[in-house]
Symmetry: C3
Subunit: 674 residues, 3 copies
């Protein structure tokens, strides 16, 4: 299963990659020497190079200046630092936009993006694609066989949504491929509603300025198309660099909870998935959502190690308020990524820029220089990352899967007209994930099309939109003995955003053993009491369903209100499995209790039972060893964690037996022979 290019990369790098984005074009060559010296001090073994260098490499159309890059590549190589070389296509030069203003993406308000930021291209633009291919070809010609080259970094943070005429042309092409004939599209989009029937492909445009209320199926397809149009750009550049040399891994950097690109579709096209993540240090739960991201990224390529490609050494500068990472937090967050399957710790960026938009974005080497707190923490971290080389390439196991689906996300948040229109898919997913994280359960993230056979429990948060294959997979998972925990407003529409017929929830009526007569979103501030069979009660809010049991049983019923006596949580036996369905939003403690009861009842291994929830506990393993990561997210007190068996803490080199003591914000990585 391991990607051979990545295996070779790991061998070359000698374990885990450590480094950051390097933008030498911002600095005088005299600074480069100091950079490399300090990189060596910090243990940097790879940099991402040239991400925004198009204007420096091709200052005029067809006129190239590679001299400076030659020099930097050589210098890095001489100092034993590998290069993740970027195609610079995220920042088209100003001359291209002056020659061809039509490459600017037209934004949702009908106006072009203009020059002065980045990502100022319509991914469907043939002109953009032509120029991007040309510079990519030139770079690949020149550096494919440079000894510093370890990896290709295609463009940067693919993202623009464009409403250009070229986008409409490409959208039509995409729709034709999907639907074949216009009648099928009309049926899929329910265009008879409000008289929107198309009789010719050329009548279809991208859904530009959002007025009043747009057809929800068209919006949905446009989201899918936008993700695919961006992916076409990636694939085109990837294929160019591959055509020069096939044994170097190729990736692009993805973003955290990024709604514009369906990474499940992208992942198979990458040699490794790579994550840029900027958790807000002012958010006390940011490490939990980071953990989910890490699990998602590990899962995107079926458990293979992933790359932490960008993070901040301390504060960022893009928000209204940019809080620093307090001492020790950057190290802990880096180890957390490794603890959940990352094979790299990389930063944006190496040296803080003097000017430009991100002049206050922290860097490995900040404005206050090598004596700064931050650089000292970087040096310490570099040393530790080197000690952790043995974990490179190791993997993880989980018995619980959480469904995370871009189509479902778009359905809930992009297409409006729902019983309530303030769903937050991410919040809902985190609501389901958090109790599992607090109880130290390993979790994989799955798409509706993932292989579900490894799991005992499948958690499905608010899967409003799910396609037929997903419905079949979930159903089959339960039939074969799995436990499905599903929350309300799931299985409602098909993948065209059409309500599934024959009563809510059309997809899962048999599965949950109940029919829903009507969705009853709660009034603002409205709360209900829910009573469990054992007499406990809990409060609920935000949502109710007028549900009628059809074989299922009530785990809990409403104790008040117009739905008094009706089921609030349904349990159903289905095939050899079990299904629990939440028809309301329970208060946190009650929700967590039901979910964790089901997990335990399903026989999921509970290895770190009793460890306080702020101690994050995970394990990576290979054929010979297990590597137990113990991370104390508490800043106020040390902690002692019991540990079966005997091993070596890779960070200290000391023997560990029976228990591990962790300082405040402290960590241990214990190698335990299997």
């Amino acid at each position: 299963m391991t990607n051979p290019r990545m295996r070779a990369f790991r061998d070359r790098i000698g374990g885990l990659a450590f480094g950051g984005d390097y933008n030498p074009e911002q600095w005088d060559p005299s600074v480069w020497r100091e950079d490399v010296r300090l990189m060596r001090e910090a243990g940097v073994n790879m940099v991402s190079l040239g991400v925004f260098a198009w204007a420096s490499l091709e200052p005029e159309p067809g006129k190239y200046e590679f001299g400076w890059l030659d020099e930097v590549m050589d210098l890095l190589h001489e100092n034993g630092i590998s290069v993740n070389l970027a195609t610079p296509t995220a920042a088209p030069p100003v001359w291209l936009t002056r020659m061809h203003p039509e490459v600017f993406p037209i934004m949702a308000d009908g106006e072009p993006f203009g020059f002065g930021s980045r990502l100022h291209y319509d991914p469907s633009s043939p002109i953009y694609r032509e120029y991007a291919a040309r510079i990519t070809t030139k770079l690949a010609e020149r550096y494919s066989h440079h000894p510093a080259l370890a990896m290709w970094h295609i463009s940067n943070e693919y993202g623009p949504t464009a409403y250009n005429e070229a986008a409409s042309v490409n959208f039509r092409r995409w729709l034709k491929r999907k639907y074949g004939d216009i009648a099928t599209l009309n049926e899929a989009w329910t265009t008879r509603f409000w008289g929107q029937v198309y009789t010719d492909w050329d009548q279809i445009e991208v859904p530009s300025i959002p007025r009043s209320w747009m057809n929800p199926s068209r919006i949905l397809d446009f989201k899918r198309f936008t993700s695919d149009a961006l992916m076409e750009c990636f694939i085109a550049e990837r294929d160019i660099v591959r055509s020069f040399r096939d044994d170097i891994p190729v990736m692009t950097n993805f973003m955290r909870f990024y709604r514009n690109a369906d990474y499940w579709r992208w992942a198979p096209e990458e040699d490794a998935v790579a994550l840029d993540i900027y958790p807000d240090p002012a958010d006390p739960d940011s490490h939990v959502s980071a953990a989910f991201q890490f699990d998602l990224f590990r899962s995107l390529k079926g458990g293979q190690p992933w790359m932490l490609m960008e993070q901040a050494a301390s504060a960022v500068s893009q928000w209204k308020l940019n809080v620093v990472k307090e001492p020790g937090r950057m190290r802990l967050g880096s180890l957390q990524a490794l603890s959940r399957g990352a094979d790299s710790v990389m930063f944006f960026q190496w040296r803080a820029s003097r000017g430009g938009q991100e002049r206050f974005h922290s860097a490995m080497l900040p404005h206050s220089g090598p004596t700064s707190r931050t650089f000292r923490e970087i040096v310490d971290l570099g040393r530790e990352v080197k000690l952790l080389a043995p974990v490179a390439g190791t993997t993880m196991q989980a018995e619980i899967a959480v469904l995370f689906d871009w189509n479902g996300w778009w359905g809930l948040e992009e297409t409006h007209g729902l019983p309530r229109n303030d769903f937050s898919y991410v919040d809902t997913v985190m609501r389901h994930y958090t109790p599992l994280w607090r109880s130290h359960y390993p979790v994989d993230v799955v798409s509706p099309h993932s292989d579900l056979s490894p799991y005992k429990v499948l958690v499905i948060p608010n899967a409003y939109l799910i396609d037929d294959a997903g419905v079949a997979a979930v159903t089959e998972f339960a039939r074969r003995g799995g436990t499905v925990v599903m929350s309300f407003f799931s299985g409602v529409v098909d993948d065209c955003n059409r309500v599934r017929p024959n009563g809510y929830p059309g997809a899962f009526r048999a599965l949950i053993g109940a029919k829903i007569d009507e969705y009853w979103p709660a009034r603002p501030g409205e709360r209900f009491t829910v009573a469990f069979a054992d007499g406990r009660t809990a409060s609920a809010s935000w949502w109710r369903e007028d549900i009628h049991l059809e074989g299922g049983t009530a785990l809990a019923t409403y104790a008040d209100g117009l739905l008094r006596g009706r089921a609030a949580v349904v349990a159903n036996s289905f095939g050899s499995g079990r299904v629990v369905y939440f028809a309301t939003l329970l208060e946190e403690a009650a929700f967590d209790a039901v979910l964790l009861d089901e997990v335990r009842a399903a026989g999921v291994t509970d290895r770190f039972r009793g460890v306080p929830s702020h101690i994050e506990c995970t394990a990576r393993r290979d054929g010979r060893n297990e590597y137990v990561f113990l991370l104390n997210h508490g800043a106020d007190a040390p902690a002692t964690v019991p540990l079966d068996g005997r091993g070596t803490d890779l960070l200290t080199g000391e023997e560990v037996a029976g228990e591990v003591r962790l300082d405040p914000l402290g960590a241990a990585v214990v190698r335990v022979p299997l």
Copy 2:
């Protein structure tokens, strides 16, 4: 006074119309059979057909497909269901917008509306009007004499405001007609202010993107023009269908508290006014504002029955939060419309759509089908509506009139530059209407140009802008013995939005017997104490006036603050009448007390005195009977209402004498012979 086309319609329909919008083009013909069967089960006797069917009727320019509509018309007719046939011009087909993108309305931000919603036309566009006329003609040619045809439904919810070049051309034409010469316009608009003088009609454009601050007279005329431009579209289509057959009533559906169209101007052009109303079930007072709408719609055509054309069977889907109508609420709201003069109970729509923007808008026949709570309530209601056939055509009497004027609304809310710019005309009107509703007084709604002779009391909420004819009518009403209750900031500007000269309030200084030196809006949170002659005090807020009595007397004075001792409420004898003027915003209880005191003092009949305010009490009558509607808006307890005389509850068929008992959310409609 009764419209003969509507009298014929009532005869045809056999009493009250019951049904909803029917969009068969969204469904397979096999579904049509089921539809008609279930319509019969529900007692449906009329449907609104084809509202958005243009693309289905004319899929290509000049190519018509009437076969499906023929079939549906025949099927409905065979089943005894009449048709309110719509011209489909609210949703121009995509081909028209591709051939002529200039039909798209340009929005206030300078960008076209685009395709994908509805109402995507500039009402001033000659091209739109030409194509709309063509499809209307074709429909009228084909169906004018179809036996199912009972009514014409012209277009749908007229509304678009457009800033197109064609709109400017039409605006100039409208202005020329109004003002005759450019000097008059300059005078009316006070264009010398900020140097905006026009010397040629062609210099005038619609006031597009709102920048800084636009001339308030120009804005005001643009609002009037927009209403008229839409009305021109209505009249054009109406005249076409009339040219084929003159005895069928023609209407269009209006909206609730809709600021873009002056329904006082429209109503005479309609055979009946029709209301689409979607009260928010999450708003506990939504039935009070619904009552006001119903009174307005009854008043729009001088007391003739009106049509409830659209309402929801349960939840809607256009808001952020769409709460269901709880059991019994839909029935009660429907009876409420009948209780205030409606002759129909219609819904949007018959069958819930599977896809499209409104897939979660409730329907008579919801996604959960014929066994659903909602469909069962519809069937019950259909039965009751049939029992209420005798009330069709009956009318109501009132001794109190409340002024409601679109020009005044625009003046307060559209033109800025006021002492405070957070007036809500609707809230103010409801503030005045609510105590009357709570006391069960019948109320008519009047325009400044209505006949005021039937009334004893005229209530005038914040009539900032009122034209000379209105001023004369109000003045004459008081002179002849009427009681006028008027609230602050009334009579300030003329119908060009120019301050009336000679001291505030220029229109009503003699009427109220006081001169206002200056308007003193209150600071945020500021409260004042007001003392009445009898020693009671009350708090006031939001607004004060530095008022000087000129013949009037103080009903209440400020007890504190810089205006201590100055009048807060003024009473004045004027001619044979009486005027009460509120110069501040009294707290609710005090305001209500003053208003109700005046009503009683004016000798208004107080028939339902003592009945709790949550029991809505009204009466319709014809020459022989009175129909007393008693509606219990309380969901928690039954109620008993005393009733003089003896009658029959049409809903139960039972005899009633002395009192009527109502269940929670219960209703009675008692026929009492006169």
Copy 3:
């Protein structure tokens, strides 16, 4: 130092100017007679005439109508009223915008401003400038030698920011002049960041629609350019009127806290600076920020008297809520302007307009006419202003200077990407100014390029961006013995918005005797405790700095949190001077105490020590007399203020000795011979 044109003007006017904007073109000539009669009653000696009269003077291109203006000028002259004659270029006529729509400024959203307000021109438009020059020339030809002419009022409230193509052309010209070659610009703007390198001037456009995040150096230069482009318009018109007659003062009216024009650059081009100020009567501190404005305007031309050009007689109408000036407030605010160096009391406008956007903006003569409260207060004020004629031309002295810099303002608020992006420069400046105001210290306002030699104390609020000359001046001020009080996040970037190298704060590391490792903005709601050397503690919030002393000493240290023990306030000896640096935001009382301690320690004269802070105390003087202004801002109680020496209260003519008694909202202006 006094401007000779202004000296002549003062002689002509006979002391202080009193009057307002006069717009006779809005009224029938019969009204003009009444106007002039009432002006005389009110003591008006000057009006600003014709500010928006372009359309009335040139109704068609090249066709002029000066007859009405001739008549008004003559009438005013006959009645002894001087004229401040306006060029009407703030309101181009509609015909100009129809002939040349390109004169409309394109706004930040990409759409043109359109017609219907004012200031609808792109200041870089050659066409606008050509037509503006033409009407200016015609006016100057005709009226330069009219006996009523006392002053030229060039255009009005210069302000528009435009994103037109003409603006881009002008911007390039401006940039070429500034940078000389494109490489220097690239270096200044750090364009290598995100690959924004320019290779040709023509590639540079104004930074139109703000997308994502624009280059902060480009934004900064665009702000400077916009101010200069507007100033070019002013200079062009000024030079035209000067070419006809050179002895008449020329000015334009500036605005309060106006971010779009760098008045330090404009002031030398004016004969006098003039302020339009509309403090919000609902803001209880509006007189303090007014005091700062007055000090700024006096300082803009090095202490010369300035002109209060526009204020409201009572309420304005441009806000959401427009509260009246309560009785006595307008007088007190007018005297306050005089107390801080104004030589005029002028209003917008003389007579309230009947229509137009500002129909509810109060006027000297309001809608309620000559008997109104407001007009009576105007008449009283006119009498008092005449009594105060002796103060005309007198000046003030201060020992404290507060730095106020448009470049620093733009740096903090316009260019984003800071550690936190909710800085309010104005709030910060007022935070520093308020304790000085409360203690009655005279304060001058300085730019980074002002002569600092007169001062003992220099207060520098959050000077994030300061140029090299400013850094040198501040440093030299301290070296020579001055006291510098500086607050956090100062001296961070150079005038290109590039972080100064060698550790924060690059500009002032030696000056403050400390190096800042990292800026630590506080989390929302986070508070810290700070301990002073003497044991007192105070709370701090919003901002911290990880600061390391390098010669400085800690006046206060953090008593808790991760920075416990680190300096929160630093004192440093530098040269012969002293520097105090606030590295956090102290609570108000503690901040004020530190600041006032430093002021006292620096030996600043504390003349009004002990007078309650709501009594504003200032003094103007000439060679022979001092004029002490005592203003009681308290509305509830009289006050007695001790006064050394003996003098005459100009307002009452009474002798004053030892103390002065002030009514609530009362005032005294005591002439004390020197």
